[in-house]
Amino acid sequence: MNFKHKFVFLFPGLFVLIGILIFPIIFTIRLSLSGWNSYTPEMNFIGITNYIRLFTDDPRFWESFFRLSFLSVSTVILQYIIGFALALMVWKEIKFKRFFRVIFLIPMMTTPVIMTVIWRTFFHESLGPVNDLLGHIGIGPILWLSDPVIAKFTVIIVEVWQWTPFMFLLLLAGLLSLPKEPFLAAAIDGASPFRKFVYVTFPLMAPISIGAIIIRLIEASKIMDTVFVLTSGGPGTATETSSFYIYIKGLREFQMGYAATLSFTYLVIMIISLTIIAKVLTKLMIKE
């Protein structure tokens, strides 16, 4: 086909994207080499001082990063298990199939911050329904938002509520597109439902599963909205994730230069670790 047409199709989108992004990225890198803060709001050049500070003198960033890893990996695992189970359950004929499918999809259509505002009243320690109902069966008030350990689980609960539907959607769409023949063969062999799942459904779903997990991990690594509204990173720094820490440094304390250093480092770590995770998952789940 003619040589130039393909560029007419590709370039508008590509250039708009690059055009919008090129400045922020270069700017972030340049900014990370400066000491821009509220006292000296200027683009001076201080070399890699910020990077030295990050790698030698900022345990809070690394803590927030490990916390983020814990939160995103555990929510995605939960979402995968629950989402897969739900998808399997409404895959074949059951009563009110379409009703349940709609219900299971609804949370991902709702704005996370807005639902988190509701969750906050839901988990309110003295005026919320959860502690009230638990109180009736004799379980003392649980400090959903002010206990450093429990607050993490509250964040996980809200994230699972919000995003399991996305996993469910991707996996159900995958299930519905599977070829019929392997299942017929398994049925003829008289395989039990469990064996059918282990030897037919799961292997067939492996590529889709990997795709879904990676997409969810990417999105989960950006956990920010939920934390912002639910706990504001607290109590203390118990639920502070990397994004939130960068937000505090950059837009609350106006250490723009240092925040840019954090941003850039964080981005590089994210890209590397997601690539590794994708490789490892592919090795684990797809047996040649």
């Binding site: 199709f9 590709l10 400045f23 709609v102 505002v117 959607l169 769409a173 690594s221 981005l267």
Partner: protein
């Protein structure tokens, strides 16, 4: 064994449904409460536990001067930004996806897959990383705190989704379709516009829905990049949260903000059941 499985299945489905519905029920109930029924003790059922009032909903239509919450303007702002950015993303994303699906690109070590990955990888970018430079970028060109500025930023957010869905979709549209059109004397643009596009409507709808969802639910960029001139819905609702617990108007405005997209759930389910989505999402 079979019976036990069925029993467990329905138990699980029921429990999950309760979990999903619970915050909505709580919000509906709270939106009809007044100060007394929120703050004295936890109440659930109107008339039985507390006397319902429409105060929470009435606040939404009152003018701000008389103690109301102006939610109408943010509502329209959100609709405008989401729809404009989605439209631009779909148009540009679909064109790019078509190019990536049909033609071969080669530039040094860069191949089609790398370009596709470049598009999609923009989703990896945490909003916070972009928000500081965007803040300075938009204030330089005078688009800070404006609808247009947000649209520009949202395009970055949404175009990867459009490309992701449409590349996979076009890969499943048989190539013979465009080839026949070309033999019949169409030029590549006509082949795309007259033949491929009409056959891609399910994909376009799915891509459109996803753009609308992810545009509508974004909070962070709107929060950082706008202040007073322009407010989007999520920012407005969260701002209510920081003031002292008027949970009734908070719940009412939250419900009314999430309502429109719940319709999308029905549309998605329709496509899912018809089998159109499977192609578009794989």
């Amino acid at each position: 064994m079979e019976k036990l499985y069925t029993f467990l299945k329905y138990t699980f489905i029921t429990l999950w449904t309760v979990f999903i519905v619970a915050p909505f029920l709580w919000a509906v109930s709270t939106s009809f409460k007044d100060f007394q029924s929120v703050n004295s003790k936890v109440t659930y059922i109107p008339w039985l536990d507390f006397e319902p009032t429409l105060e929470g909903w009435r606040v939404l239509v009152k003018s701000p001067a008389r103690g109301g919450v102006d939610i109408v303007e943010p509502y329209f702002n959100s609709i405008f930004v989401t729809c404009t950015a989605s439209l631009v993303s779909i148009v540009l994303g679909t064109l790019a996806a078509y190019a990536l699906s049909r033609f071969t690109f080669k530039a040094g070590f860069v191949r089609n897959n790398d370009i596709t990955f470049f598009f999609i990888s923009q989703r990896i970018m945490p909003p916070i990383v972009l928000s500081i430079p965007f803040f300075i970028f938009l204030s330089t060109i005078g688009l800070l705190d404006s609808l247009l500025g947000l649209v520009v930023v949202y395009i970055v957010l949404l175009m990867p989704i459009a490309v992701w869905i449409m590349v996979d979709f076009f890969n499943r549209v048989p190539k013979e379709l465009d080839e026949t059109a070309l033999i019949d004397g169409c030029n590549p643009y006509q082949a795309f516009y007259k033949v491929v596009l009409p056959n891609s409507i399910p994909g376009l709808i799915v891509a459109g829905m996803f753009c609308i969802i992810f545009g509508w639910i974004d909070f962070f960029f709107a929060f950082i990049l706008t202040f007073t001139e322009v407010q989007l819905l999520p920012v407005k609702v969260v701002a209510l949260n920081s003031s002292i617990t008027p949970w009734w108007s908070l719940s009412a405005s939250a419900l009314i903000s999430v309502a429109p997209l719940i319709i999308v759930a029905f549309v998605v389910e329709r496509y899912l059941s018809k089998g159109n989505l499977s192609g578009a999402l794989k």
